[in-house]
Symmetry: C2
Subunit: 432 residues, 2 copies
């Protein structure tokens, strides 16, 4: 690198789990980064809330500031990494950075899922890049492959395990037979779940990521509020055992599908066959399974969170954004949109697994089958287990609309011969 050549100056907003690792990598990998970018990448400043909080990295003296707004407005800042999180002040800081001519990398799924289009338009207008690989599935390169590698293909479905906490809990339930509460407590003890686990357990985190994945995969605009969402708090040991009986496992899936020209985007627990690549995703790992017309079935697997893994994704974006900044060009943006309708959950086509305790009388099977057929739902398999007081029917349906399926279950619950509907769960990952 010749002296006096260009230097890229980076402001890092936030120095917590992710930010501290970004700062560390910027220092440790300085030489490699310079070689890959084509110019040295220097730290211009690090914005935090509390100047004297303990940090996992040593920030060079004079670079820490509580004035994030002042930092992003500085003339000598070329690139801004936003790892504060949440909606404000993150949004205003990103918008200000773009207006002041910086290119931006962020890991902020909440903000992107709520208000991505505002940010993308600002980036477009400023002629700058806004990259956010780390916002979905942490370290796993999934947005870049969707956006660039599959740019000449047509993605038809995305199934993701995009929340490590819930995957850890469900994996525990599957491997130990424990219930939800017990498994959640174990996850909390081991640091895989927070004291208030709502965002993970109720599927809010996964829904934000589902919105981002659907937007990119189908070149449309989906926000978190468009996403149908069910968490895992109601998944029981009986559900997990029922899944095992049919050679399946329960996973919390973020699903985005293209049906004709509409998209279906949803987050809910589902049974998938153990032979499906997603079934072997254990513990807190994440994975995103992609189906496309030409490429077929792809899967991307890795750690979905953690300071260092997430920082790796941020740095990957930073190198691209820095190269573009230097060249005065932009990467593939979000501009080319087809605005597609989002299907309501009731109109989405799904399959159900239903286990029912029934009276062991002649004709019970026929009566239950009739309930399905009255709602236009055809049955794929039905298994009758036990005898007498313990008789149980396990039905797996063919595809129908979610409204038809849930109405069928409603009717079953009210039927005289049905003692209890012991497990209801959607089934995904079928071969077609």
């Amino acid at each position: 690198m010749s002296e006096g050549g260009p230097v890229l100056r980076v402001a890092v907003l936030g120095c917590g789990s992710v930010g501290s690792q970004v700062v560390r990598l910027l220092q440790e990998q300085a030489e490699d980064l310079a070689a890959r970018v084509g110019a040295p990448v220097e730290l211009a400043g690090v914005a935090v809330r509390r100047i004297d909080a303990p940090r996992e990295v040593e920030v060079p003296p004079g670079l820490l500031t509580t004035d994030a707004a002042g930092l992003v407005a500085r003339d000598d800042v070329d690139l801004v990494v936003e790892v504060i999180g949440g909606i404000e002040p993150a949004r205003s800081l990103i918008l200000s950075a773009l207006e002041h001519g910086a290119s931006v990398v962020t890991a902020n799924k909440a903000l992107l899922a709520e208000d991505g289009p505002t940010l993308f338009e600002a980036a477009e207008k400023a002629g700058r890049d806004l990259y956010y690989e780390a916002a979905v599935a942490g370290a796993i390169p999934i947005l870049r492959p969707l956006r660039e590698s599959l740019a000449g293909d047509r993605v038809t479905r995305v199934l993701g395990i995009v929340n490590g906490t819930t995957n850890f809990i469900l994996d525990k339930m599957d491997s130990t037979g424990a219930g939800f509460t017990e498994s959640l407590e174990e996850a909390q003890e081991l640091g895989y779940a927070e004291a208030d686990p709502t965002a993970d357990v109720e599927g809010f985190d996964a829904a934000a990521k589902a919105a981002i994945l659907a937007s990119l995969a189908f070149h449309t605009r989906v926000t978190a509020s468009d996403v149908y969402r069910e968490g895992i708090a109601d998944v029981t040991a009986a559900d997990v055992a029922s899944a095992a009986d049919i050679g399946s496992v329960v996973k919390l899936l973020a699903i985005a599908e293209l049906n004709d020209d509409a998209v279906s985007v949803r987050v809910h627990p589902a049974m998938i066959p153990r032979s499906h690549p997603l079934a072997s995703v254990r513990e807190a790992y994440n994975a995103v399974f992609v189906e496309s017309q030409a490429a077929g079935q792809l899967m991307f697997y890795g750690p979905g969170a953690g300071g260092a893994p997430t920082a790796s994704a941020v740095l990957g974006d930073l190198v691209t954004v820095a190269r573009n900044h230097l060249a005065g060009s932009r990467g593939v943006g979000e501009s080319a949109y087809a605005q597609r309708a989002v299907l309501p959950m009731g109109e989405t086509r799904t399959r159900y697994h239903v286990a029912i305790d029934v009276d062991d009388r002649a004709g019970v099977l026929a009566t239950v089958a009739m309930a399905f057929s009255e709602h236009g739902v055809s049955i794929q398999t039905v298994r009758q287990e036990g005898r007498g007081a313990d008789a149980q029917l396990v039905v797996v349906s063919h595809e129908a609309t979610d409204a038809q399926l849930s109405a069928t279950v409603e009717q079953l619950r009210g039927m005289e011969i049905v003692r209890e509907v012991t497990s209801v769960m959607r089934v995904e990952g079928r071969d077609e």
Copy 2:
């Protein structure tokens, strides 16, 4: 798109399995491609060997030619897709295309592994892109993630199942207990193996891909001739059963490791634990497992071959290359090299699994253990099975150099108490 704006014109060299699907996608996806590139992408010509051979796609009249050299030299060709394969005329055509100002996409692993640097220098000199995602693991986006997503991280190891034919055969052997020959015949009947299976079975195809992966992962230059190579023809049903006994499965792995500043690049069958993400890669699927300092463990999975999947990867490259061509910029090239030494196989650190039929005498275990320790190899586990005439010892070593391990096995073979060494195989995919 305003009329009279720029149009990108593509020459496709070769119209076989991959080329015909590239031509099909260029036609079917024309509208989406134009939106993503920012300009219409038009077919300028398709070069073949035989004008009137049957094709899997209808090539518009007048576009088929046998004059590939003339096609790439044409002024109105902006982008060249090379899907002929082999060294010549592919190399000369790519070099000519670059000299004439075109950007190039190729799927040609053989050429890249033999003479990549010549091509990269020509691209650099011409100021054009040379992309080749489809050359490794077909449809799976692996080169772009290695090159771009992990650009701020440090990759330490790559383990790949990059040959579908051999994975199909080994998977059959594992699931049915059949031998190599029988499984190869089944693969041939089902079209997973060619009539002459040498390139796949002997690991030549995997070695080419290993060279490309190592070069990209470690920013260095590795050619196919640097790659240590063992195929699967000697893998026996006994090896596969031995692997199963220790909860493992046999896979043909392409391995690239960074040890201090040297690289080890090799292709050989190895036992990996069934809990390893690569173990669940079935049939002819491919997967590449990547370990890096910050991101940790990532895996990329999908179809490693086939006309349409491979064409998907080609088109993904084509969109990027076309955007760069339009902007007058280049993507991340291969220029920033650290030239690293390639470790000879003997100096590479590996682990061995060795099964031995022994005389059932007192002191046998001690004698065998002594052979390992004399070569400086420490033993991780040893299991004694059977009694009398059927006594067997199964030893799994700790890491040592491959030379130490193979010398140990040599010595065992010559020992009086050893009736037969029934299985020797390297072990990979350890937790560290």
